[in-house]
Structure formats: structure tokens, C-alpha cells
Symmetry: C2
Amino acid sequence: MIINKSSPVPQYFQLQTWLMEQIEQGILKHGVQIPTEKELGELTGLARATIRQAVGNLVNKGYLIRKRRLGTFVQDRQNETEKRTIIGILIPDIRSGYAPELARGTEDEAAKHQHSLILCNTDDLYMKAEHHADRLIKAAVSGVILIPTSHSYEKNRLIIEMFTKKDIPVVLADRTIPEIEIDHVTTNNFDGAYELTSYLIQRGHRKIAIILSERISTEKERLKGYRAALGDHDIPSDSSIVISDAGPFDQEHYQELIRGLLGHRGDFTAVFAGHDRIALIVYSIAHEMGLTIPDDFSLVGYDDLPYVSIKLTTMHQPIYEMGQESLKLIMSRIQGDGVASREIVLKAHLVERSSVRNNEMNL
Amino acid sequence: MIINKSSPVPQYFQLQTWLMEQIEQGILKHGVQIPTEKELGELTGLARATIRQAVGNLVNKGYLIRKRRLGTFVQDRQNETEKRTIIGILIPDIRSGYAPELARGTEDEAAKHQHSLILCNTDDLYMKAEHHADRLIKAAVSGVILIPTSHSYEKNRLIIEMFTKKDIPVVLADRTIPEIEIDHVTTNNFDGAYELTSYLIQRGHRKIAIILSERISTEKERLKGYRAALGDHDIPSDSSIVISDAGPFDQEHYQELIRGLLGHRGDFTAVFAGHDRIALIVYSIAHEMGLTIPDDFSLVGYDDLPYVSIKLTTMHQPIYEMGQESLKLIMSRIQGDGVASREIVLKAHLVERSSVRNNEMNL
DNA sequence: TGAATATTTTTGTATAGACAAATAGACATT
DNA sequence: AATGTCTATTTGTCTATACAAAAATATTCA
């Protein structure tokens, strides 16, 4: 190693750069002693003060550590990675649906890995999501769990790119985005809806109404499962009792749709609500109209939300586990897994309560 | 300023300390030029290299900034505060009760102030709380919102001290801790319970059962309000229908207690549930036993939890606002408000639904 | 053998002096 | 008025030297 005395770059800086390269290229590894100041003096022909300046700067930056009488040693710069122990979660609203359960599963798993969780509510708005993404990047999160919004796939992609540009791994939870290679965790929505629909059919229901929003990937799958089950049982689909474009969840809008549906009750004997919150609205509207469940019609939901006080037969989704698995994927990416994007599909299972009437004898 | 040449503490360190004190005591303010190296040399009698070492260290630490030809200036250490834009929230369980609403209010307000929110679930366990506190401190949060656990005031204090030792402001939300000077936000639990009890009395109820846990500060206040209302209406308290030591919320335990209470139904015409989750259990146990509300007995709750599908008359607590106000208190502390500890009391209001029967004619 | 002591090495602290580089501000030039 | 040049000042870089302090190692002594 030669110091260029005529270079405009300071000699201490030349030495400092040289040492840093050695460390970063792994030539000088953690714990290894670098030459003593005297030796460096002989090597470079520089005065000890100059050498001290170079080494001192690297000590300040955390690359080296000096030990009196023993020498100067290479330090593992674990500080940086140690500081970055935060994961972000972008969720539409922590108050709604399964969000608390998901957040809890994620946080518990994060805690196991000594990580913290930053909670961001997007309200399905691009502006808010962007704003949060910006701050998450500034906070140097080491990974992000995203529940894609139902509004625009394009916008979701933009958000994802904000992170991937900075090499921050992203995992999608529950919902997916088409045509994008990214780790994601879902449940078997098709199979679940198939099972749930078959359950209704087995209990003698042939006129099964359904209400959900096709625009959301999970509900789209459920609609497919519903149709497949009907088809396999040779039941023709009746489009008048299929509301598949209900749009993103909006209390009032759904109330209206459901009032409309319950208006011509002769057309169905059971209602498949796209998820439990829809089922709750169906229940309350039915109550309003003086109808009782399952006597006047049967009702099933999807999710198995906690703290639901009605006896709703529904598909239990392993939301807590979804949070856990999402975080595990993030952790494996953080630890440098370079494998292709992975998909984890968890299994939902039917929870039988008492919102479905057995109509078999009526057949 | 005199350097003690015979002191065992290095002279550069003496100078460095002196300069730092000047800055931290505000004698040398942001932007002010400190004496030039030459002047410091004359002042202290030290060699320039020694002075450079002292000043250099402070430059490294970010206290000073050197400008060639111009001199050395005091730097506002805003980097740190700029990076620290994270608030922690310690909550028993994000899934339960009003936690999501509180988290949402907090997060929205934090976003307004360009801050992020780290969510920590403690499960009311000291071990978990300590663990989270540790990591929040390492993550350099600039403030913490704590929902005290019901288990032990001592333990809560320990957690608070972990933060205050590091000058991290703490705000208590909802529940309070006695004998501790700290910012907190609550609702008027006494007045609310008084109003709610009076409401029942006005509707002809004189035998009002209550179930809650006195160990939780909020519920203790509610019990007092309940008793005050009874007293003011000259209704003697019947201890056989007062369950005030139900302990921290535990689904199964409460189910048992409520089954016991509903066993001797002649003793009361209304039940005051300490909070909505208790009310939901009362409702479902009543349902199990074939009782209907409000026909067989009346029921009121406290909280006004969202997504409750029964028509429960209850006190609406401004939980979202509580989250907002808590965060505002934190922000004012961050901005250096040194005032004495503050208490914000928000107002709850009665939400009349249909779980209370008007018994007035029966009197 | 084991404890006390001395030696040696390496970083830590400190001095004195020199020239380089940047630049605000004064001054000169176009 | 705009631009270029000079100057003084301050920090930036660098050398050479000296003694201090810590600590591993060798040596001495009881």
C-alpha cells in the first residue's frame, strides 16, 4: 500500500479509505488486529499523528476499536442492523374486521424476533398509504406487511415499489395483487367457499343468495368457490340473487343492497355473506324487517370475527396465524433469503353455529 | 476557564466538557461562534492540537460544526429529534374492547404530527411490558402512551420509571395510577355511571345489579357513581347484587359469575355491566337461559363498543378522542412543556337503545 | 511455587511548528 | 454592474517529538 503524497486527497484520508476497503471486502475480519500505529508508520511513511487521524476516524465510525497496549481491532458493525428492528404494517383500519387479530399475530411474532411493529392505517387511500410509506422508509423499517387496498392495483404497486426500491422486503397479507412477484400469505378462499356452499346445499338449500365484492381478490375467489359448488351439485346459478359488485365495504351502501335483496325473499332460502361484517348487516336488517334467522332464512358468513354476539355459522379464517406467517416471511427476507417469491396458503375451517336451518326434509 | 494541568483528567477532555456544558446550559446557543482555536489557545494555554482534539470530538458528536475560514459554531442537535419520530403505545391487547379505537385515534393524531406509532401488546403481563419498554427505549421513541395494567400498581410504576429515567415522556390513557404525578387522559367515569344509574332509576328500576372489578381505576369510579346515584335516590344498596371484585377481565370467570347472578333473578330488574364486553356476556348467558332482554331484565353497558350487534343501551366513551388527546399531551412534552402533570377528563354520554325496559308503571 | 516487581509494547495525551485550502471581504479591473 | 484578484483569517493536513497509562510478559525474590 502506497500513499500518494502529491495527491490532492489528504494522506490520512487515503489511509482511512484503504483500511475501510480492507474491512468491507472482508480481508480484515472481525476481531483481527490491524497493524500497530508504528507498523503503519513504517508501511506508509506517514507520521504517527496522521495515522492516528485515519484510524481515529474509523474508530469513530465504529469500524475499529482501539485497546490500550493490545492494538487496534476490526469491529463488526452490527449496530446498524441492530438498530433496524422495526417492521411496518399497512392496514386499512385497525378498528375494522379482522385487523386487530392480524395485527396481534404479527406483533407477537415480531416480538419473538426482537422486532417492533409500526401500525399504519391507510383507510384504503393512496395518499395516506404513500404518506405512511414515506415515514416508514425514513424510520428505516426492515420490512413491511401490506394489506393491499381494494381500490386500485396500480396504486398498490406504486406503494410496493417505494419499498422495494429501498430494498425493504414487502409481504402481502390476505389479499393478493395479480401480475406481481411478491411473497404473500392468504387462505384457501376458493376451497373454503366451496365447502361452505356445499354445507348449505347438504342442508337442503338450493336457492342461495350471495353478496360480496369481486374487486377484492379474496372475495373473488370465494365467489368462484360458491359457483363451483353450485355447478358440481347441478344447481343453476340465479343471477338475481348474486350481488358480486357490491364494491369496497361501506356500511350504508351494503345496508341498501341488503334491503333490496331481502325485499324479494321468495327467491332464496339462504344468504352467503362475503364476510362476517356483511353477515352482521344482513342480520340487523333482517331483524329490522321482523325476520328471524334461521327460521325465515339461513345465513352464513366468512372470517369468524371475535366478539360477534350472534350464533353465526361461518368459515373460521386463521387470521392470527396469517399475521405470524407474514412476519416469518419478512424475517426470512431480512436474513437474506433470496429465493423466488413464495405463497403461503392457510386453511380456513367451517364453524357450525345456529344460523343455518336444515331444510333437507323439505326436498 | 482554567485547565488544571495536574488533574488526572486529560486536558483535552476538560476543555471538551467545559464547551459541552456551555452548550447544554444554553450559554452558547445555536449558530453562535465559539472562540477560534487561536483564542482558545490563549484562553487555556493549550497547544492547538489539544484544542483541536477537544473541538473535534464535539464536532463528531454533532455539538459543533466547523467552517473553514469562518470558525466553529454551535449546532442545534436536531438530527436526533428529527429521527425520533416514533411514539410507543403499550396496550393490553389490540384485539380486545376499545383498544383498536384508541390505537386508531392515537395513530391518526400521530400521523398529523409526522410521527409513527409502535404497537405493543402487554397482555397485562409485567414481563411483556418490560420487554416492550426495553425495545421501545432502544428504538429511541420520543414518547409513550401507556394503558396501565390492572394487575399491580407497583409494576406499572416500574415500567413508567424505565421511560422517565431516559427522559421519555409517558401519558396514561383511560386508567390512572394513584400517587404518581403524570399526565393522563380519562373520561368522567363517576359522572357517567351516575347518569346511567339515574337513567335506570328513572325508568322504574330500583333493584339494580352491578358487576365489575374495583381493582381497575375506571371501574372503581363507576362503582362510586352507581352508589352515589342510588344514595341520592334513597335506594339502599343491596350487596347481594353487587359484584365488585370480579377481577381482571376473563371471559370464563365472568361467565361463571354472571351465571351465578342470573340464578337468583328475583333480586334485580336491571343489570349494570361494568363495560360492554361484560354486557355481551350477560346477554349471551341470558340467551342461553332462555331469557330475553329487556323483557326479563334490563341491561346497560359502558363503552359503546363498535360492531356490537345487540341493541345495548350504554355510555358512549370518546375513546378515539382519548387516543388523540393522549398523543397531543405527548407532543407537547416532546416540544419541551415543563409544566406540572396534567389531567384531561373527557365526557361520556348516554346512548339509548333498547336493552332497558321502562318499568315506571310498575312502581 | 507463587507473589511481587520490572520490562516492554501499544495506545493515550500533549506540545510546537509548518504549510495547505477555503473563503469573506476589500480592492481592482473590465 | 459584473467580474476577477488579493489578503487576512480560520480551519485542514501533516511532521516530529515526548511522556503517560495500561497491560501482557518476563524477571525477581521470598
